[in-house]
Symmetry: C2
Subunit: 109 residues, 2 copies
DNA sequence: GGCATGTGCAACTCTGGGATTGCACATGAG
DNA sequence: CTCATGTGCAATCCCAGAGTTGCACATGCC
């Protein structure tokens, strides 16, 4: 199931710095940890750790070119999570609608 | 903007216990902290704290009835976040497609 | 080869937040 | 009124994880 994917994505997106990082990556299209460190008020090592988390969550991918590692955004896991979330919201709505119907039916006694 | 909403929801959904709590709430339709504590391996106080977080995030709502407080799921904030996430994924896809086009164009030189 | 630059690894600090416990307060039931 | 039950508040414990620093290793460039 994609439950594992969702878990990872939610955990990864919980941190504001990681979200900023994703924004940076999305706008650059592709970047190294060192480059990204220049755009955020944290050390390169902190960036690397965040990128590792994002990679495990499937939100980014990396390619080694020479002595540098280029990271890029991957939309699949994010899309999966978006769908999961939307269907969950829809599920809640169905339940709530059902409760409401029952309440109104009981009111008519 | 709903950026604040998204922030809260993401932070709230990051914790597995809170997600379980939401599942329980959604299936019960309505429940008190004490009742919910019976369905999870944590103390009532822990549940209360989680419910407070979920409430701040807009994921649940509460109504005081007599001496008990009944909580119920609210889908709006979740839906907002789902849409935000989906549009972000779409945005990434657009960027990636653009990069790919440029790469292919350059390849033809 | 020698130097600059980009990564990787490891130890360490420190704050946030998840969880517990104990007790005081409010309200419904008898 | 008395007791049981459900909440609220505050102090405390504990650890995952965000961040740093220092150094070793690899690769491109001259």
């Amino acid at each position: 199931m994609d439950h594992d994917v969702v878990d990872g994505v939610l955990a990864a997106l919980a941190d504001p710095t990681r979200r900023q990082l994703l924004d940076l990556l999305a706008s650059h299209g592709q970047a190294t940890a060192t480059t990204l460190a220049g755009g955020l008020p944290v050390s390169r090592q902190a960036i690397v750790k965040h990128l590792t988390v994002l990679d495990s969550a499937g939100l980014v991918g990396s390619v080694k070119i020479g002595r540098e590692v280029r990271y890029a955004v991957r939309s699949e896991a994010l899309d999966t999570t978006a769908r999961w979330m939307a269907s969950l919201a829809a599920d809640w709505d169905r339940r709530l609608a059902r409760i409401k119907r029952l309440a109104e039916a009981a009111e008519q006694d």
